[in-house]
């Protein structure tokens, strides 16, 4: 049924496209993002905000000066690495919503190393912290993956609940056993020693180098290795993977270990370079935002990098707007949601051609156009 008609309401009907030229689908996607910005602008108008001022301030706040550019990069680093992690899981249609918890557990393991072996030489300590964070994040993801692989347990709820458990557990540590007895006031965990902090390169901590390397690595892994291919096949059709004799549980668990491991590494980077210790809010929603960026990037590692930079601009711009215009930074969440709604909806126009035929009434067009 290649040329099937999906629906026809009054004078509008949708017909499945045979195939679509690449530039045509790009135009549809770009215009959907543009439309979403228009829609977000209308939402802003409702709250008595001038959308042009808001968008201009977001851009000014994200790239308006050298230090703001650095801040934007600092936000792009965790977002990119977490998105790469989410990508590996989503490629397999495993809905890893547990990025937040994996980031927290990675940060927890890295902090354990940093707080207990703070005297180790810097390269050794940082390497140990990174390894610990990857393993901890990986294991945190492996638990739901094992249940999914062996029993078919719903991974959406499972990975999500693991977030809350990780965050509550670190909250417990921060207010209880790990609390710095010397700190007065707000309970906090002691800072890492100097050796536990990531060095900087060109004004930004070297997480940006790690993010670039990992982007290339994940791209090569997905597109040019046997495991990467198996992950793609399991995602495309689990039956096909089975007929081809792939060990599906093993593919699921490997992919999820990588996915969680990458998120865990984000935790180490944020703890070491940003917070200089472990805090329960370490994941700062990067695990959730990564879901949006990964989907917008159409599960393509190279595209992830660019989408994440754009979103980092949005995040940085939104935190700037809070100071400059006294608008809540949550405006970023609203704009992100709107953009994704439009892009998700636009997929329809890539798969289907909407035809306007001469019918008895054109009244239904307006409804469908929303």
């Amino acid at each position: 049924m290649k040329d099937g008609k999906l629906f026809s309401i009054g004078s509008v009907k949708a017909v499945k496209r045979e195939d679509i030229p690449k530039n045509r689908s790009a135009i549809i996607r770009i215009s959907s993002v543009a439309l979403s910005l228009v829609f977000a602008g209308i939402v802003l108008l409702f709250f008595d905000l001038n959308p042009f001022t808001v968008f201009a301030t977001i851009i000014e706040g994200s790239v308006g000066s050298a230090s703001r550019v650095q801040q934007t990069i600092v936000k792009a680093i965790p977002l990119t690495i977490a998105s790469l992690g989410i990508l590996v899981a989503f490629k397999m249609k495993f809905w890893n919503i547990g990025g937040e918890g994996q980031i927290v557990m990675g940060a927890l393991a890295a902090s354990f190393v940093a707080l207990n072996f703070g005297d180790a030489p810097r390269p050794v300590l940082l390497l140990l912290m990174a390894v610990a964070s990857v393993v901890a994040g990986g294991i945190w993801a492996l638990i739901p993956a094992a249940f999914k692989a062996k029993m078919g347990t719903n991974e959406v709820i499972f990975t999500l609940m693991m977030n809350y458990i990780a965050i509550k557990f670190v909250t417990y540590l921060q207010y209880g056993p790990w609390r710095d007895p010397n700190s007065k006031g707000f309970p906090k965990i002691p800072n890492f020693s100097e050796n536990g902090l990531l060095p900087s390169l060109f004004g930004v901590h070297i997480g940006w180098v790690i993010a670039l390397i990992l982007t290339v690595a994940v791209y090569l892994f997905i597109n040019y290795t046997k495991k990467g291919y198996e992950i793609t096949v399991v995602g495309a059709s689990i039956d096909t993977a089975g007929y081809a004799g792939m060990n599906i549980p093993s593919v699921i668990m490997t992919a999820m270990f990588i996915s969680g491991g990458l998120c865990g590494l984000v935790g180490m980077i944020q703890a070491s370079a940003i917070e200089k210790t472990l805090v329960y809010g370490i994941s700062a929603n990067y695990g959730f935002t990564a879901i949006i960026t990964t989907w917008l990037a159409r599960l393509n590692a190279a595209a992830v990098l660019f989408v994440c930079i754009a979103f980092a601009m949005l995040l940085q711009g939104a935190s700037f707007i809070q100071l400059a215009m006294n608008v809540p930074a949550a405006v970023a969440g609203v704009v992100q949601g709107v953009i994704l709604f439009f892009v998700l909806g636009s997929e329809f126009f890539i798969r289907y051609k909407v035809l306007f035929t001469r019918g008895k009434s054109g009244s239904s067009e307006g409804k469908e156009a929303r």
Partner: protein, 308 residues
């Protein structure tokens, strides 16, 4: 014990509304993971309407409309535009969370007006409220709790005893067959997604108006996700949803209870219980294989009439 169980019923009520909302959404074939977002939208609109007008009816209506509006976005993208339900639901949660902190930012610290609090004060039901044990546990609450009971009964009748409910279940079980028998698929899906979202909005409003009567940055704190899990736990059955919500209501107040009994365990660890219990429930639910315990046959599958 009685006071603990009575408190559990109150804690269960917002969960119950969200669970029932998601239940009818899933029964009609759509998996909307935006419950958390819709609850937050309902909470923030419900609170601002209550604060602005002092009228509990307008507050609840506003919350229902807000949750329903979030659900409408989901329906447009997933039903009409065939978008991926998992990702769209997550988007709705992110959008709703952003929307609630954006709209609610200026209201943090404000209190629910007295007229609304008065509306939600406990009222004993005559006769039923006097039954020993059961009376104080179940029948000495505010009207919203009773509305929850009514919803369980109404939904049970609707789902299993009416023609409309049968049609709606047919849409979720086997969309193609329902379509062939002349049921309006799109209309059924839209209606149940929107009403389901409205119920989630009401659940959120209860959290913002009664559970925590002073507005905070996040009043829902994962309850939306617990509701999604409770639907699985309840095997898509409204009565079991009530039991599940009650169990979780009890778990969520267990910490305070233990502390008042002199058992010292960190509040932060006790806070873990409901989430850990959710995981256990999801694992156990995986093993269900009686026919009436299974999810709707065509849950979360987009429907293309011509591509069968």
């Amino acid at each position: 014990m009685v006071s603990f169980l009575a408190a559990a019923v109150i804690a269960a009520t917002p969960l119950l509304f969200a669970t029932l909302g998601e239940l009818i959404t899933e029964k009609s074939g759509s998996l909307n993971l935006g419950v958390e977002g819709m609850m937050l939208m309902g909470a923030v609109i419900g609170f601002s309407a209550a604060y602005g007008t002092g009228n509990p009816g307008i507050a609840l209506l506003g919350a229902f409309v807000a949750g329903g509006a979030g659900a409408l976005l989901f329906a447009i993208v997933t039903v009409s535009l065939q978008g991926n339900q998992v990702v769209t639901g997550l988007t709705l949660t992110i959008f709703g969370t952003g929307f609630a902190s954006f709209v609610g930012d200026k209201m943090i610290g404000l209190s629910v007006p007295a007229s609304v609090l008065e509306f939600f004060s406990a009222r004993k039901i005559p006769i039923l409220g006097d039954i020993p044990f059961i009376g104080p546990v179940l029948f000495r609450h505010d009207v919203f709790v009773y509305l929850g009971y009514a919803m369980v009964i109404a939904l049970s009748i609707y789902l299993y005893r009416t023609r409309a409910g049968l049609n709606m279940r047919a849409v979720g079980e086997n969309t193609a067959a329902a379509d062939a028998s002349g049921i309006a698929i799109t209309r059924h899906k839209y209606a149940h997604i929107i009403v389901g979202g409205g119920l989630c909005g009401l659940g959120g409003a209860y959290l913002g108006l009664v559970t925590v009567p002073i507005w905070q940055a996040d009043v829902v704190t994962g309850r939306g996700w617990i509701a999604v899990a409770l639907v699985i736990f309840a095997s898509w059955n409204p009565t079991k949803a009530f039991l599940g919500a009650f169990l979780f209501g009890a778990l969520s107040i267990l910490g305070l209870r233990l502390q008042s009994m002199g058992i010292h365990i960190s509040q932060y660890l006790v806070d873990l219980f409901p989430y850990a219990a959710t995981i256990i429930i999801v694992i156990i639910s995986t093993h269900k294989n009686r026919k009436e315990d299974l999810p709707p046959g065509n849950l979360s599958e987009p429907y293309f009439r011509e591509s069968r």
